[in-house]
Symmetry: C2
Subunit: 706 residues, 2 copies
């Protein structure tokens, strides 16, 4: 896909986050005011660049010479911070662009979030960004920072509660308040936020573009993003694909999961929240971790900064409390990890070391082990030498935080990490920050809660799987196919079109008369089904347009008369093409394949199991079209009802490859008709046992209204 390439223009964000010269327009001498804080924060942090306060009413601002206007500054400006009242913002921004400022950050509120008037002012700002080289962050944002440079182009008071320490995490948040909350929590947990960007109303720079910039930055290895909605699909895709390609995990919190939530998003921002299930699909497709809440987001980001992504889902669990071992095993199994038992030989070795412990996995080393630390080392070695586990979680609680324990245990862990650098070692320890740091320094993420320790292993192993994929998340758009008919498309025609696209359809004949129907039934083989054929009648069953399981020529002849008669009664103006006669299909599992045109993401493909799975449980998965078979296989496996397809309780395994092939074919069809297709649905699609394929029994194509 062409859009996967980063826009060269994205490098224009660099002056924004690595500035040498900063102008503050609306600079205040009062260091607690919004216009005064950036200068104070930068001074306190030892910013090495040059700061130019702009304030026509003062000679100096907080000890620096003030200038009357942006045009008066003695050298080119990388970034202008605009902290003036809303009515003056457009003019000020235009003046910055005229003065060849490279980037502007607009704190001021009162734009698209306030209604039509504000929207018009925001459009004027967008016009500046579109027509000049100057990039704009905001309006209605809390600014940006680069903690390594001491550059704090922000008025967030979170800086006072805890100045961020530089690290390898980049954070971008549409919401300034929430971005500030995250910055503070991350700082308190020792997670180093290097770059921090709040995008606010996004008249120009958005979350998607910032992710791409962070993905390219050599100092960033983990990306955290928060948004209420995304507008530019291609930019988002390009950025996420780039991050995946470079092995940089993206942890994304997108709010609006439920209907009430989505309501509030609409009333809160001008952004359009796409269907939430589609976002789930997009994030999975691009290997992004979608975080449910703040804590999960920071847990995963924190663990990811250690840079070890387990190559498999097999986890070894070690505990000084048998009960906690069980808890961790419960959590591991429920979140999708594999708690593979130790080999018999290894179990025998452990049992010899600790007769009262349990050596299977979870391995219960008992608190006893801390009276003889060589037991901890020996146990860990046995587990690691199995080479079965790509991650080990050890519950040591406060016992490992005792002063006498820290040196020997951290040494044991350091040695283990050296011998097995690809194995993720996660600890559950309760102790003061300085002790926790000691364990972190030997390469082990530390959590107080053992369940949280287990859950991050699953998240990191999912990143590993995503980084290993070789196919693009969303494939290149296939060449456009022949245009769809503009008129309503009947079932028979829809089936012909889809069959041509590679989707297997039940064998059927369109018959204009009863005699034709009888002959068709004879040719197809009894029993047959008979359906009214009309592009104008959508609800065939409800209007008596379907007769099933017709066993004789007489049955077919009667059914023809009945079905066409009822159709004329129910829809006198409908065009009736005759009836469709098809072979009855009974065995197999019913599924639904669909296409929807998503307002944000364009054509998306849906897959679900028939009946209550879709209706009651809403058990469906989505992917953006087009995609390949491997992606379709992952899509299937996300369904709660997947065991039905895989074969449970002695049922036959269904033909999963045929489903994957159908889904990818449908995705190519959808992509080739982008802009022409409102929706498509194949329902039911009956999937037979392995090797026997599938058949769609009904199909609907709804062209997009011009």
């Amino acid at each position: 896909m062409a859009a996967i390439e980063p826009r060269p223009s994205e490098d224009t964000l660099t002056p924004l986050l690595h500035p040498s010269t900063v102008a503050i327009i609306g600079a205040s001498d009062n260091p607690t005011r919004i216009g005064g804080r950036p200068q104070r924060y930068m001074r306190d942090a030892g910013f090495g660049g040059r700061i130019y306060p702009v304030n026509p009413h003062r000679d100096t601002v907080q000890g620096l010479t003030a200038f009357a206007s942006i045009g008066d500054l003695p050298e080119p400006i990388d970034i202008a911070i605009i902290a003036v009242p809303a009515p003056a913002v457009v003019e000020t921004t235009e003046a910055c662009a005229a003065a060849h400022v490279k980037a502007a950050v607009i704190f001021s509120a009162g734009f698209a979030e306030t209604g039509d008037d504000g929207g018009r002012h925001q459009a004027a700002l967008a016009a500046v960004a579109d027509t000049t080289p100057m990039r704009i962050v905001g309006p209605n944002c809390l600014g940006v920072y680069n903690s390594a440079l001491g550059f704090f182009g922000t008025f967030t008071s979170t800086i006072e509660a805890g100045r961020p320490k530089p690290g390898r995490v980049g954070l971008v948040s549409q919401s300034g308040a929430y971005g500030s909350h995250l910055s503070l929590l991350a700082t308190r947990r020792g997670i180093g936020i290097r770059f921090w960007v709040t995008t606010g109303n996004e008249c120009d720079v958005d979350v998607a573009e910032t992710i791409g910039w962070l993905a390219r930055h050599p100092d960033i290895s983990v990306i955290v993003a928060y948004a209420e909605g995304v507008r530019d699909r291609d930019r988002l895709f390009a950025s996420l694909a780039l991050a995946r390609e470079r092995g940089k995990p993206v942890i994304f919190q997108k709010v609006g999961r439920t209907e009430i939530g989505a309501d509030a998003v609409r009333s809160h921002t001008a952004s359009l929240a796409g269907s939430d299930a589609v976002y789930d699909g997009v994030f999975r497709q691009f290997g992004v971790h979608r975080a449910r809440d703040t804590e999960e987001m920071l847990d995963v980001a924190y663990a990811a900064t250690f840079g070890t992504f387990p190559a498999s889902r097999r986890v070894g669990l070690m505990s000084i409390s048998g009960g906690v071992g069980v808890q961790m095993a419960d959590e591991a199994v429920e979140c999708g990890l594999e708690v593979t038992p130790m080999s018999d030989a290894a179990q025998a070795r452990l049992k010899a070391l600790l007769p009262f412990g349990s050596p299977r996995n979870p391995v219960d080393i008992t608190a006893q082990a801390f009276n003889d630390l060589s037991l901890v080392t020996a146990n860990l070695d046995v587990m690691l030498e199995e080479r079965t586990y790509d991650a080990i979680v050890a519950f040591f609680t406060f016992v490992a935080a005792a002063k006498a324990m820290v040196d020997p245990i951290s040494e044991t862990l350091r040695a283990a990490k050296q011998r097995h650098p690809d194995c993720l070692l996660v600890l559950s320890i309760v102790g003061p920050p300085e002790i926790v740091r000691r364990y972190e320094e030997v390469g082990c993420p530390v959590f107080e809660d053992p369940a949280r320790a287990v859950r991050v292993v699953e998240a990191l192993s999912r990143f590993s799987e995503a980084f290993a994929r070789r196919t693009p998340p969303v494939g290149p758009s296939p060449p456009a196919l022949a245009a769809l008919p503009a008129a309503p498309i009947g079932e028979h025609e829809a089936k012909l079109i889809l069959a041509a696209a590679g989707l297997p359809m039940v064998e059927e004949q369109l018959c204009a008369t009863a005699d034709e129907a009888v002959a068709a039934a004879g040719a197809l083989g009894f029993p047959v089904a008979l359906k009214i054929a009309s592009p104008n009648i959508l609800h065939k069953t409800e209007t008596g347009g379907v007769e099933l399981d017709l066993g004789t020529a007489d049955d077919v002849s009667h059914a023809f008369a009945a079905v066409t008669g009822r159709a004329r009664l129910a829809a006198p103006d409908a065009r009736i093409d005759g009836v469709l006669v098809s072979r009855m299909v009974t065995a197999g599992v019913e599924t639904i394949l669909g296409v929807q045109h998503d307002p944000t993401f364009g054509p998306v493909v849906m897959f679900g199991l028939g009946g209550i799975f879709v209706e009651t449980l809403k058990d469906v998965s989505f992917r953006v079209a087009p995609f390949e078979d491997d992606e379709a296989h992952r899509m299937m496996r996300e369904l709660t009802g997947f065991p039905l397809l895989e074969g449970v309780r002695g049922r036959q395994r269904c033909d999963l490859d045929a489903v994957a092939a159908a889904l990818s074919a449908l995705s190519r069809f959808a992509a080739a008709h982008t802009g022409q297709l409102e929706s498509a649905e194949l329902n039911p699609v009956v999937v037979f046992e392995e090797g026997r394929g599938l058949l769609a029994l009904d199909a609907l194509l709804v062209p997009k209204r011009p």
Copy 2:
């Protein structure tokens, strides 16, 4: 139920937790050894009682006069702490009992957890508890404490990491290591643990009995429990029922949720982990909060100490960040709270106060509100005056932790709490502990994470619902019914027995000949179903023993011959009673009602929806028999598939009252046959639309083997 009454003997736990005199057997002069720690901890904590070290090899122990044996002590002893090597434990314990010690705590390991030999030693300890008035905690435990008294009968090193502060929480844990972990985490969060009991191998005192003692203690208002399994059903039920009756929330973590987890439990302890889904049912039935993990357990316990349990699930959400408001709304809806919108009048008032905010609920007061704090007060007042919400969650993050903010905001909250004491106010604030304490002091639980703040509201509202129930969780056992036949029970006989117990069965006739079958069909009305009647053939469908939808006398006659012929072929030794002829039932939703004899809990009733819901999704709920209709209604509502019964997408609402009546009737039947019934299953039970009842089409009764 008689067992709901607390055992009077449970007061014998009082000397264990309120001792005046403490003997330490195996007392060590080294204050870091296991036998030395209790004395040191008690001295450091200023324990006011008298401590008697027992050590035949020393004159003094840590400055106190040592005694040679328990028999030499100068006054009666409330509690003896036994810290001697395993081989000496039985003798020492017997000596304590002989010296009229009231309670003993045995630290030593090497009992049932180590295998048969250890099991025999443990049985000897149990015999002491059974035959003397002395109560025993342990063996293989970490002891007990009463933090208000400075009594630390424990060697857990968690005391050194943070001495517990007295509060209104009682904690009992089967696992010593995990109990210690919980004690430390609770202390660090400012949750005051008053009593702490680790029960270890439970040769006498167990988790269930301790819960009951805590429920009766006037200083305890919240109970936290951890167990790997429960052995004494009646004691557990009595304790949980008492806690519920007294309005004391019980938060219980029971490990072994998944199959691998349950495996590890079996290898770890001598306790038998009951089926985990049954535990879910028990906890729901008794209004206990089952915590998934440590963090959830402490979150709920912490919030519960504030003593406000919201009377409804309606929650008001207030946020200084619109995006976080949406997150909270998502979380609230997903966990089952109701995010009811503000009234139009209230919305208008809020809009007038804050034109840029969103007044619907979540209410976005914007960070702006903190420039004019009267806006926070005014918003809160408008929300509270609605009287719609029984809980309000406010996201203020670090903004409310700024020094200038604490006084006015905490004053606002205090005033609000005074006017609306029954409304739970939960805050999401990030700040240093001393600031958090200020908000806690005015009665508001504080969480960093807004999602966690929302989830505790749901947990507390569930307690409120449970406290309001007037029926006992498990009803009194009904009088025993006529004994079940000992021989295998055929379908027809099973149906007659269950019909007599009040369960509606499909109308059917047992017919020995084809002519009888035809006559029966005529009487019942065509079409009919015909099934082989034999107590020895369980899988009727698989052996060709069922013919459905028979429309004519001829069909019935042929089917009789076919069905009986196939049965003789498939099971030549089976006793064949003839065939069952019944009316065909087609409309309705298929469900399954079952009974199982649970090894821990006795007869339990299961409810599920038919087909894949039970098979693939394992979507079932359990309750201990007997129970009443209201409990059955709650049981139904736990199913993921409940919307199918409630009527979705234009489907008819099913007769839920009939399902409830059938479940409670089945529960009474199961209870009246306790000890006689292995299992029962009514499958399918077809539920018709509201007012039209239900019918079981098939039934199976398996008597318990003698």
